[in-house]
C-alpha cells in the first residue's frame, strides 16, 4: 500500500539516529483543515472508527474520508478497556469473526509500523461449577472445530500456569477447571488507536478531534425532519459546522443510541458503565490473563507490574462514568477469593467506560433502514478485541454497499426477524 503522507518510519535505528541528532519525531498525524464535504463520514475516533477509515483507504482506495470525535482520539472505550484479546467464543460465527481479529492483531505491529505490544500470554477462563465447566467444554469443542487453540484444563495445570490462584477444593468458589486459550493475551490499547490513526492519516483520511456531532442530516424519511425508515442520509451537523456526505458510519460506543436516534433509527441497546481498576505495580507474578465468569472478574498483570481488573457491566443504565465504590468492593472480594495472597496490594485507580449492551451479546453491524447510514455498534464489553476485523469488514460493507458474510449474522434486521446470535448461551463475562 502506498502511504501518501510518508510518515517517519519507526525503528530502533530511527530512535538512535534521532537520539544522536537530538531531533524530535514529526507529527504522528496531521491537524487537518476543515472541509464541507466527504465521501464517507465516520463518527467515533476509537479503534472501530479509525480501523474502518484505515481499511477504506488501504483496501478500497476510498480516502476522502473524515473521522469525527467529540473529544480526542481513543477517548472512549478504546482507551478505557482492559486490552484483552481472544477468539475462543461460543458460536462458529463469533469464533470466525474474532479469530480474524486476532490474526490482524498478530501482524499489526508490522502492518502499521508501530509496536502495539501484543502479549500472547494465554487466557484462562475459570469454572467454579459443573454448569460452568459444561459451558467451557462447549466452547472448547466449538473452538477446536474452528482450529482455535482452546481446551479445558484441570486444577493442577491451572496452578502451574498461575501459581497465585488458590485451587484448593474447600473454597466458596472452588476452581474446577478452566478453558485455556494460549493465543489470547493483552495488547497496548492506545497503541492500536494511534497505529490506525497514523495509518489512516498517512493515506489522506482527515481526523477531526473535538468535533462533536449534533445531528444527522437526512431527507425523504417517514419520520420528523425526513428521518427514519426510507430516508437517505445527506451529512452531519457538528459543533464546527455542517458536512455533507452520502455515507455516515456510526462507530460510537456509549452514544450509539443517541447518534442513531439523530437519524431516526432505534437500536436494541441499553448503555451501561463497565468499570475497571488498576493496582500499584509489583514485580511480575501473574503470567496469564485470568477470567472468572461466576465471580465477574478478570485480571492480568501488565508489563509495568500493575494488576488490571475488570468486571461485568453495572446493572443500572447510565451515561455517567463516575464509577462506583461497590465495583471495587466486589472486585477485591472476588479477586481475593481467587488469589488470597494479594490482600496487601493497593488499588491505585478506578475508571469506567460505556458499553452498549444488546439482547444477544453480539454487535449490530451493517446497514440500517436509513439509506447511507451504517452502524458498527452494540459492542458490549468486547469491542476492543474486535476492532481490526470490524474495521476491515465495515470498510468492505460501505465500499461494496453489501454486507460481507462474516458480519451478516450481526445485521440490525436480525432483531425484527428473530434471528438472534447464540453468544447469549454462555456470555456471562464477555472478556
Amino acid at each position: 500500500m502506498a502511504l501518501r503522507n510518508h510518515p517517519a518510519k519507526y525503528s530502533a535505528f530511527g530512535l538512535v539516529r534521532r537520539g544522536l541528532r537530538k531531533t524530535n519525531w514529526p507529527r504522528v498525524w496531521r491537524e487537518p483543515d476543515w472541509k464541507s464535504s466527504y465521501d464517507v463520514i465516520i463518527i467515533g475516533g476509537g479503534v472501530h472508527g479509525l480501523a474502518t477509515a484505515y481499511y477504506l483507504a488501504a483496501n478500497h482506495g476510498i480516502t476522502n474520508v473524515a473521522v469525527l470525535d467529540k473529544a480526542y482520539l481513543g477517548s472512549g472505550g478504546s482507551g478505557r478497556n482492559t486490552a484483552i484479546v481472544r477468539s475462543n467464543y461460543l458460536t462458529p460465527e463469533g469464533v470466525a469473526f474474532y479469530d480474524r481479529s486476532l490474526d490482524l492483531y498478530n501482524t499489526m505491529s508490522v502492518d502499521l509500523n508501530l509496536n502495539v505490544m501484543f502479549s500472547e500470554r494465554g487466557h484462562m477462563t475459570l469454572a467454579h461449577t459443573d454448569s460452568a465447566l459444561r459451558t467451557m467444554n462447549w466452547r472448547a469443542e466449538v473452538n477446536k472445530l474452528q482450529k482455535i487453540d482452546s481446551s479445558v484444563i484441570g486444577p493442577d495445570e491451572i496452578k502451574k500456569l498461575a501459581p497465585s490462584l488458590d485451587v484448593s477444593t474447600n473454597t466458596r468458589y472452588p476452581i474446577l477447571g478452566a478453558l485455556y486459550h494460549p493465543p489470547g493475551g493483552t495488547i497496548r490499547h492506545d497503541a492500536v488507536v494511534w497505529g490506525y490513526a497514523r495509518g489512516a492519516d498517512a493515506q489522506g483520511v482527515d481526523l477531526h478531534q473535538k468535533t462533536e456531532v449534533l445531528d444527522i442530516l437526512c431527507e425523504g424519511g417517514d419520520g420528523a425532519d425526513g428521518k427514519g425508515a426510507g430516508a437517505t442520509v445527506t451529512g452531519v451537523r457538528t459543533r464546527r459546522g455542517d458536512i455533507s456526505a452520502p455515507i455516515v458510519v456510526n462507530c460510537t460506543a456509549g452514544w450509539a443510541s443517541t447518534i442513531a436516534g439523530m437519524a431516526g433509527v432505534r437500536l436494541p441497546i441499553t448503555t451501561h458503565p463497565l468499570q475497571a481498576a488498576v493496582t500499584e505495580p509489583v514485580k511480575a507474578f501473574l503470567p496469564t490473563v485470568v477470567v472468572s465468569g461466576s465471580l465477574h472478574v478478570y485480571v492480568s498483570q501488565t508489563d509495568r507490574g500493575e494488576l488490571v481488573f475488570g468486571a461485568s457491566v453495572d446493572p443500572v443504565a447510565t451515561y455517567n462514568m463516575g464509577g462506583t465504590l461497590e465495583f471495587t468492593e466486589e472486585l477485591a472480594g472476588h479477586v481475593l477469593e481467587l488469589m488470597p495472597g494479594i490482600s496487601k496490594m493497593r488499588l491505585l485507580r478506578q475508571w469506567a467506560g460505556l458499553c452498549d449492551m444488546t439482547p444477544d451479546y453480539s454487535p449490530v453491524m451493517g446497514p440500517t433502514p436509513v439509506e447511507g447510514f451504517y452502524v458498527d455498534v452494540g459492542w458490549g464489553t468486547y469491542g476492543f478485541k474486535a476492532g481490526p476485523v470490524s474495521g476491515e469488514q465495515m470498510a468492505a460493507c460501505v465500499a461494496n454497499r453489501a454486507t460481507p458474510d462474516l458480519i451478516k449474522p450481526f445485521e440490525l434486521s436480525r432483531f425484527t426477524e428473530g434471528e438472534l446470535v447464540g453468544e447469549k448461551g454462555a456470555a456471562a463475562v464477555g472478556h
Binding site: 509496536n115 501459581p163 511480575a284 477485591a332 472480594g333 488499588l347 448461551g425
Partner: protein
C-alpha cells in the same frame, strides 16, 4: 542517628522509646513517632530508591505520603509509603526496584542511553522480527517498578462498617478542624478524617503558636463530640454523597473501609506543594520547603548541612526559618520571578553538590529547597462532578462549582492567615450543619420506619461565605533547563516537549503516551507541571490546555480493605446435619450446599430402582399462592391450561420469558380453595418469584393473588422406588396411599411420622413410583430419620443429586439451563402438546407461535451405537464427514439400569427424527455414532412404574 536534632517542644517523636529496624539488612534505630523515612534520614541515609526507567538514585523529596521516591518494601508488604508509615519495632525494610542492590544498580546504565529512550520509545521499535518481541517484552517487564508480593500473605481482619453522619470532613488542618467543630456545635454528627497521623495539617510543622492552636482545636473537636479518624483517608465520593473512608488506625482491622452516607461532605484537603522542574531536580538532597519543615519540626531530623533555598512564597521563608533553627547553613536564598535565577543542580550519585545560577555563579550545597507553589488536590470535588478552574494570578487550580451537598474550605479554596482559614472553616461547618439539618428532616419525614419529625422543615441555607483571599503567586513551573516532571514514571519535560511535537498534544493524549501522572501518586505532584510544560510546548495558556480528571481512590487502598470480610451466603437444608454425619460428598449449586452422593451414585440408582431411595430436595423453589385469581395467574405464566385443575390435582408446567425462551419449569398443586403450592427449579426460585410479582403488580394489578416464598419453610424429601408406597404407608395413618385413592399427579395433605400439615404429591422425576413430601422444616430431620428407620427391611437408602440426575436422564426429563440454553424457545423442549396456542394470553406466546412455524432445534434422546462410549456433555454433533455443527450432547451418563450410555441432545430439526444416525465428535477428537430414540425416556417409556 547522626542527623537527629536536639529535642524540641511539639515534635511528634517520643525519644524515650527507641525502635530498632533493618534497612536492606542493616540494623538501625529510630524513635516512636518516626516515619520510616524520617528514621532513615536521621541515620544518614540519603538514597531511598532508584527510579523506574533510568534507575537514577532518589532521595526524600516531599517527606509525606506523596513522596514519589520513598516507596519501600516492609516485610511481606510492597509499596509502603516510607514517609508516611510510622516506624515499628522490628520492621524489616528494604528498597524496591533495585538490581541487585541500592548502591550498585546495573540498570543505571540506562541513564547513559536515556536520550534514545524517549517517552513512548517502545512503540517505535521491536516490531521486527516479530518472533523476537516476546523476548523484548520479558526484558521490559523486569523494569516494572514496585515491591514483591508474598503469595502466602494471610488475609487479615478487614470488617467494614456503614455510617450515616450528617457531615464528613475530609482533612483536619485548621479549616477542617474548625468546620468540624462548628458543625458539631450546631448539632450535626460529624466524622473528621485526617490522612496524617495527627490532626493539625500544616500547623504541625509551623511555629510554636501554630502547634498550640492545633492542640486547642483538637481538644475543642473532641469536646464537641466529633468522631476523629486519623491515619485515615476519604478515598472517594460517589453518587449521592456515598463516601468511602479507609481507616488505617483501627485497633483490630488491618485497614477498614467505612462507607458513609454523608448528608454533607466538606473537602478541606489543603494543598500539595509542587516540585520545580530543572536539570538535576531529582538528585538526592533536592526537597520541597514542606519536606524540610516536616523533617525538622515534626521529627527533629536535620535534612542537610548547607542549603540553597528557592523561595517563591511564604513557605520558602518558613523553610529558611526552620533551617536556621536546625543549624543548617543557608548559603543562598533565591527569590521568585526570575526563571533564569536557578538553572540546574549537579552532584554525585548520592547527593546534590552544586547549584548553578543564571548569572553563571554556582553555590556548593548538599540541600536544595524549592518553594514554587501549590496544587489543590481537588480529587474529591472532581468525583462530585466539579471541574477545577485555573487562576494564573495565583498560579494554581481552584474548585469550580461543586454540587450543593459538597463544600470546600481552607487552603484548597484560597490563602489567608491561620485565623482566616479557621474562620472560613467555621462558616463552612455552620453552612454544612444547616444544610444537613434539611436533608435530615426530609429523610426522616420520607422514611417509613423513622420516628415522626417534629416541627417544620428548616430553611435551606444559601452559601454566603466570604471567600478566602488568593495570594498572588508567580507562575513557576520550569527553569530554563529540562528536568523530571513525573518522578515515579521517570518522565522529563523534554519527553513532554517531544510528545507534544509528535502530535500527542492534548493533556489526555500526552498522559497516555508518556505515562506522566499515571504512577503511584496519580498526579498529586505531577499534574500541574505536566499541564504547564504542555502549555509551554504548545504556546498556550494553562487554562486552555486544561487538566486531567482525577479518579478515585484519592489514596491507594488495600484490596483487603475493599474486599472486607467476604459475605458469600450459603444455604443448607434442615437435613444437612444428617448428610454431613453420613459421609456425603457435597456439591455447591448456586448458594446451596447439596448432597451429590454418599459414595456410589450408581449403587444409589440401583437401590432406588429395586427397593426404595430417599433424597433431600429441599432447595426446590416453593411458592405459596393464595387468592381467587391464582388459576388465571398460572394460565398466564405457564404455557399450558390451569383453569380446571381440581383440588388435589398436580400439574407440570413450563414457563417462558416474553421472547419465548424457556424460563423455568416445575409442578404446581391445588391444595385447597384458592390455595396452591408452586415448585420451581432450585436455581429459578428467586427469578420466578420476582416474575410473578412483576406480572401481578405491573400488568394485572386487579388480580387477587398473594404469593409467598416458603422454599425452606418446607423440607422436601423425595421417596422413590417400588417400595416407596410401603415405606410411606408405615409413617402415615390419615393419607390413603392406595393407587386409586392417591393416583399419579395428585396431592394430599396429612400427618407423616407424627408431623401435621405435610404436603405429599405423587410425581415421577425419577421414573419410579414416588412421593414427594414437604414437611415443616423444623421437623425435616425427624421425618428423614423416621423414613430410614422404618424402611430398613424395605431396603431404604439415601440418594444424592448425581443419582437423581442419572435417573431423570434415564427417564428423559430435560433440565432447564442444561438441556435448554439462553436462546431455547419452548418448542425446543419437545413438549409441543403443552404449548396451548388457543389460550388467550400467556407470557411468550407470540414468539412460541411464530417459532412453531419455523425451524428450531429440538431436544431428543440419543443412544451411542457403542454402549460403552459415554460422550462428554457439550460434545458437538456434526453433519457426517463435515465439520458443520448440527447439535450438541447436553446430558450424558452411563445408565446403571440399562447398562449402557444414554444422552439428551439438542439437534436441528433435520436430525431429530427417531432412528436418525448422528455423528458425535468426542473430546479426544474421534468421531462416534449415536441414534435418535423414539421417546425422550430411555427407560420405561410407557411410565408403568411411576403410575403403578
Amino acid at each position: 542517628m547522626k542527623n537527629r536534632l536536639p529535642s524540641r517542644a511539639g515534635e511528634q517523636i517520643d525519644r524515650s522509646t527507641i525502635l530498632s529496624f533493618t534497612w536492606n539488612g542493616k540494623k538501625l534505630e529510630g524513635f516512636a513517632g518516626d516515619t520510616i523515612a524520617s528514621a532513615l534520614v536521621a541515620n544518614g541515609v540519603t538514597v531511598l530508591s532508584r527510579s523506574m526507567k533510568y534507575h537514577r538514585p532518589r532521595g526524600l523529596l516531599t517527606a509525606d505520603y506523596w513522596d514519589p521516591n520513598a516507596t519501600v518494601q516492609v516485610g511481606d508488604e510492597p509499596n509502603v509509603r516510607a514517609a508516611h508509615r510510622r516506624l515499628e519495632d522490628g520492621m524489616v525494610v528494604s528498597a524496591q526496584n533495585v538490581s541487585p542492590s541500592l548502591r550498585f544498580d546495573v540498570k543505571a546504565a540506562n541513564g547513559l542511553v536515556g536520550r534514545f529512550l524517549t517517552a513512548g520509545f517502545y512503540y517505535k521499535t521491536f516490531m521486527k522480527p516479530a518472533a523476537l518481541w516476546p523476548r523484548y517484552e520479558k526484558i521490559l517487564a523486569t523494569f516494572a517498578p514496585g515491591g514483591k508480593v508474598d503469595l502466602n500473605t494471610p488475609h487479615g481482619y478487614h470488617d467494614k462498617r456503614y455510617a450515616h453522619p450528617d457531615v464528613v470532613v475530609a482533612g483536619a488542618g485548621p479549616a477542617g478542624l474548625a468546620a468540624a467543630i462548628a458543625a458539631a456545635a450546631d448539632g450535626a454528627s460529624v466524622m473528621l478524617v485526617e490522612h496524617e497521623h495527627e490532626v493539625g495539617g500544616h500547623l504541625l510543622w509551623g511555629t510554636d503558636d501554630d502547634r498550640a492552636t492545633a492542640a486547642a482545636l483538637r481538644a475543642e473537636a473532641e469536646a464537641a463530640g466529633v468522631e476523629i479518624l486519623t491515619n485515615s483517608t476519604v478515598t472517594g465520593r460517589y453518587e449521592d454523597n456515598w463516601v468511602a473512608i479507609a481507616q488505617r488506625s483501627h485497633p483490630m482491622a488491618v485497614e477498614r473501609l467505612i462507607k458513609a452516607r454523608a448528608k454533607m461532605l466538606i473537602v478541606a484537603a489543603g494543598t500539595i506543594e509542587r516540585p520545580y522542574v530543572f536539570a538535576g531536580n531529582d538528585l538526592p538532597g533536592v526537597m520541597t520547603s514542606g519536606a524540610v519543615q516536616r523533617l525538622i519540626r515534626m521529627y527533629g531530623v536535620k535534612p542537610g548541612t548547607r542549603a540553597v533555598v528557592l523561595a517563591a512564597n511564604d513557605s520558602g521563608a518558613a523553610a529558611v526559618a526552620a533551617l536556621d533553627d536546625a543549624g543548617v547553613d543557608v548559603a543562598r536564598v533565591i527569590g521568585s520571578g526570575d526563571r533564569a535565577a536557578l538553572v540546574k543542580a549537579t552532584g554525585s550519585s548520592t547527593r546534590i553538590r552544586k547549584v548553578h545560577m543564571g548569572d553563571g555563579t554556582t553555590e556548593n550545597c548538599d540541600l536544595l529547597v524549592t518553594a514554587v507553589g501549590w496544587t489543590a488536590p481537588t480529587s474529591l470535588l472532581n468525583m462530585a462532578g466539579d471541574r477545577p478552574v485555573y487562576d494564573p494570578s495565583a498560579a494554581r487550580f481552584f474548585p469550580g462549582t461543586p454540587p450543593d451537598n459538597v463544600l470546600a474550605t481552607g487552603g484548597i479554596t484560597g490563602d489567608g492567615t491561620r485565623d482566616q482559614l479557621i474562620e472560613h472553616g467555621r462558616a463552612t461547618g455552620r453552612l454544612a450543619a444547616g444544610r444537613a439539618a434539611v436533608v435530615c428532616h426530609r429523610l426522616q419525614a420520607s422514611t417509613a420506619r423513622a420516628a415522626s419529625v417534629d416541627g417544620a422543615e428548616p430553611s435551606y441555607p444559601a452559601d454566603e461565605r466570604a471567600a478566602l483571599p488568593r495570594a498572588p503567586h508567580p507562575e513557576m513551573f520550569r527553569a530554563a533547563t529540562h528536568g523530571i516532571v513525573d518522578y515515579s514514571e521517570d518522565v522529563s519535560s523534554k519527553d513532554l516537549f517531544g510528545a507534544a511535537a509528535e502530535g500527542f498534544d492534548s493533556v489526555e493524549l500526552i498522559k497516555r503516551f508518556t505515562t506522566a501522572t499515571m504512577g503511584p501518586s496519580q498526579g498529586k505532584l505531577e499534574t500541574v507541571n505536566t499541564v504547564a510544560v504542555l502549555a509551554e510546548a504548545r504556546g498556550e495558556t494553562i487554562a486552555e490546555v486544561g487538566t486531567t480528571v482525577w479518579r478515585p481512590p484519592y489514596a491507594p487502598i488495600t484490596l483487603g480493605a475493599l474486599g472486607g470480610r467476604v459475605f458469600e451466603p450459603v444455604r443448607v437444608s434442615a437435613i444437612q446435619p444428617w448428610h454431613e454425619a453420613n459421609g456425603v460428598t457435597p456439591i455447591l449449586a448456586g448458594q446451596w450446599i447439596r448432597p451429590e452422593h454418599y459414595g456410589d451414585p450408581a449403587e444409589e440408582v440401583r437401590n432406588t430402582r429395586t427397593n426404595v431411595g430417599i433424597t433431600d430436595v429441599t432447595p426446590l423453589g416453593k411458592l405459596d399462592l393464595q387468592g381467587p385469581d391464582v388459576p388465571k395467574l398460572l394460565s398466564l405464566l405457564y404455557t399450558n391450561k390451569w383453569m380446571q385443575l381440581p383440588v388435589g390435582g398436580v400439574r407440570y408446567g413450563i414457563m417462558c420469558a416474553e421472547d419465548g425462551v424457556v424460563l423455568d419449569d416445575g409442578v404446581t398443586g391445588h391444595l385447597g380453595d384458592d390455595h396452591y403450592l408452586m415448585t420451581t427449579t432450585s436455581s429459578g426460585a428467586a427469578t420466578v418469584w420476582n416474575w410473578i410479582e412483576m406480572w401481578l403488580q405491573t400488568e394485572r394489578p386487579e388480580w387477587q393473588v398473594h404469593v409467598t416464598p416458603i422454599t425452606t419453610g418446607l423440607a422436601s424429601i423425595n421417596i422413590a422406588g417400588p417400595n416407596s408406597r410401603a415405606l410411606l404407608g408405615r409413617l402415615t395413618d390419615d393419607i390413603d396411599l392406595g393407587p386409586e385413592a392417591f393416583a399419579y399427579m395428585q396431592v394430599r395433605t396429612g400427618t407423616i411420622a407424627g408431623i401435621d400439615d405435610c404436603i405429599t404429591w405423587r410425581i415421577g422425576f425419577t421414573g419410579e413410583l414416588s412421593y414427594e413430601i414437604h414437611v415443616p422444616s423444623q421437623h425435616g430431620l425427624h421425618v428423614w430419620n423416621q423414613l430410614l428407620e422404618h424402611g430398613v427391611d424395605l431396603g431404604v437408602q439415601p440418594f444424592g443429586l448425581e443419582a437423581q440426575r442419572i435417573m431423570r436422564l434415564e427417564k428423559g426429563h430435560f433440565i432447564v439451563g442444561q438441556d435448554t440454553d439462553g436462546l431455547s424457545k419452548a418448542p425446543t423442549t419437545g413438549m409441543i402438546p403443552l404449548l396451548k396456542l388457543d389460550k388467550d394470553d400467556w407470557a411468550g406466546k407470540p414468539e412460541v407461535a411464530w417459532v412453531l412455524d419455523d425451524d428450531y432445534p429440538v431436544v431428543v434422546a440419543v443412544q451411542p451405537t457403542d454402549p460403552t462410549v459415554v460422550p462428554e456433555e457439550a460434545c458437538q454433533i456434526l453433519r457426517a464427514d463435515t465439520i458443520d455443527i448440527v447439535g450438541r450432547i447436553t446430558s450424558s451418563r452411563f445408565s446403571p439400569t440399562l447398562g449402557r450410555s444414554i444422552c439428551l441432545a439438542q439437534v436441528s430439526q433435520e436430525f431429530s427424527e427417531p432412528g436418525t444416525e448422528l455423528t458425535v465428535l468426542l473430546v479426544n477428537g474421534t468421531r462416534t455414532t449415536a441414534r435418535v430414540m423414539e421417546h425422550h425416556a430411555h427407560f420405561d417409556p410407557e411410565g408403568t412404574r411411576l403410575r403403578g
